[in-house]
């Protein structure tokens, strides 16, 4: 089991009355499984996803990811789990406004640089995606430090760039952006992008570290039909290559790509009644 949710509950207090946003939810996911959860907003979907990713502590119950109990992890281990094992595509726009699209995609790869070597094996994205158009073949850049960076700031966490690493990160980021057909916007800042473009850049960011579990909150929310197709085929392809995909959506067009569709109603999770 990659993801195991047991009896998960989270209560909030609204106008003095406690209520359960997520109410005794149980769910198991295997690698390569693609599960979609549907439900109206305000029914606990985002609360559920935040608890799965360890951003929110449950009132009771437990989440286990890749054999690790989320509740038992300290901040560093939990951050590493979020960074390395989970990819999170949020509902609202969460690109960093001060970085270009390309730098936004690269950023997660810099948090735990020591781990990156073990992850080098080819993920599904580069290897095959029928929508990938022209594979980006960026010329290798020299791994020079940013000349604008003053010497006074000692690099804190980033280990000395080896000759190949900056290239590898840029190349991978460009490839991801190309897969999502936004590579031409790599040097644009988020405020210069449309909602759909930002969404696709954040999907690329979530995939940067080759997560085992991709959590997507309304990934097709602001996308037109064509973009939706690109994104959903990419998610399907990821699932086919062993990534577990947990998606929350309203979008009926997105559901056919999932292996299982569940409903979340008033905090309770159930299989979708067959039509």
């Amino acid at each position: 089991m990659l993801l195991e949710i047991k009896d998960l509950t989270r209560e909030f207090i609204r106008r003095g009355v406690p209520f359960a946003a997520v109410d005794h939810v149980n769910l198991s996911m295997d690698a390569g499984e693609f599960i979609a959860i549907v439900g109206r907003s305000g029914n606990g979907k985002s609360t559920l996803l935040n608890m799965v990713s360890g951003l929110l502590r449950p009132t009771s119950g437990a989440v286990t990811i890749d054999g690790q109990s989320v509740a038992d992890l300290d901040d560093k281990a939990l951050s590493r789990l979020r960074n390395r094992t989970i990819g999170f595509v949020t509902q609202s726009q969460t690109l960093l406004p001060n970085l270009t699209a390309l730098d936004n995609v690269i950023l997660p790869a810099l948090f735990f640089p020591d781990d990156s070597d073990g992850q080098a094996a080819g993920g599904p994205v580069e290897s095959e995606n029928e929508n990938a158009g022209v594979k980006s073949a960026e010329p290798a850049e020299t791994p020079a430090d940013d000349p604008d960076m003053p010497d006074v700031i000692a690099p804190v966490r980033v280990s000395e760039p080896t000759a190949a690493r900056p290239d590898a990160l840029s190349t991978r980021a460009h490839a991801l952006l190309a897969d999502l057909q936004v590579d031409d916007l790599a040097d644009s800042y988020p405020k210069e992008l449309s909602g759909g473009e930002m969404r696709r850049v954040s999907i690329a960011r979530a995939l940067m570290n080759r997560p085992k579990l991709l959590i997507a909150d309304e990934p097709t929310g602001d996308l037109d039909a064509e973009s939706t197709l690109i994104v959903m085929r990419l998610l399907r392809s990821l699932a086919d290559h062993g990534t577990a995909v947990l998606m929350v959506t309203h979008d009926a067009d997105a559901l056919p790509y999932a292996d299982r569709v569940l409903t979340l109603d008033a905090g309770r999770l159930a299989d979708r009644p067959s039509r």
Partner: protein, 405 residues
Amino acid sequence: MSPHISLAGLPLENLRRKPFRTASLITVVAILSVAFFGGSMLAMNLNKGLTSMEERLGADLMVVPQTTESKAEALLTDGTPNTFYFTNDIESKVAKADGIAQITSQTYISSLAAACCAEKLQIIGFDPQTDFVIEPWVASQYDKTLGDGEMVAGANVNVSTDGTIELYGKTWPVVAQLASTGTSLDNSVFVNKATVPQMVAASAKVAKRVMPQEYASKAVSSVLIKVQDGYDAHTVADNIAKLDPQLASVGFVYPGGVTASTKTSLNTMLSYMLVFVVVLWVMGLIVMLAVFSSSVNERKKEFASLRIMGATRGMLISIVIREALITGLAGGVIGVAAASLIVFPFSGYIGKQMQLPYLQVGIGSILGMALVALVFAVLTAAVASLFVAFRLGRPEAYLTLREGE
């Protein structure tokens, strides 16, 4: 295409993409640093001036003509040149008083605002035989006895390249020039008693005679006294006044008292400056806290998204702290540079306006103080950002991606 982002470069990128906010913060830090560094430099220079003045005051008591006490005090601190003198032989009379260890006399003449490129000088005639005030000081620069017609010049006196100065249309040889004291002694020339009549005679030729010729050889402006151990300067002054009805009306100046009153006014000024710097510092800190705390709300989403990507709390705090450190360092460097542009080139003007002994401290102290000012600027920015860091350190405090938001 530029090399991609690094974690260390993120704070810099954040600052660069918010130029207005960054510039405002740097300006606040720079203003604080100007006040801190500029104020400290002034304080240090004033203190050095005072110390130097104390060292130059070898006498415990000065006997001066009636009503000239303030002129004599000005001579010791920072005043304009003056001429005043007794018209009778007072030194030998005073010397009879009880409690005197050493006694000597001096004559003060103010030169004219002389010809081209010269300014008013204070001419001080002293008696090398009995002097105990100037000689030790001159000895550090000039170990021979001052000959007739020769001069020792203060630090600010404009000595021409051939080692002479022109006074009253005559050229006088300068045998030594003294180190700066920060007092009006820097604008003085020192001559021996025998030279005084020569100067008076010279003055008569070019302009108004500075004193009647009949007094020139015996005029004494001030009798300087070192009291015996166990005697108080005031007691000795009383003894002198009781000697002779003629001496009952002379003026007394207590150089120790002058130092004390200078110290008092210096301390008053320093405490005003201190209050000013502290108030400014508190205001600046409040402004910076306001800017930082409003930026927390503005940046909640940014921090939340970093958390979702897997940044640890430590990483977020380090980003915030490093932004603050860069801001503080930039503001500090600008502030110290700006203050330096005022304090150092205008040192002479500041000293004159202060009306207090003012002596530039050495380069070592300046660099040390600049370093302290930079550390102070960086710390201020860091303290202001601690508030943000504290809020980021609380679990889930900035988590905005909750249900319904």
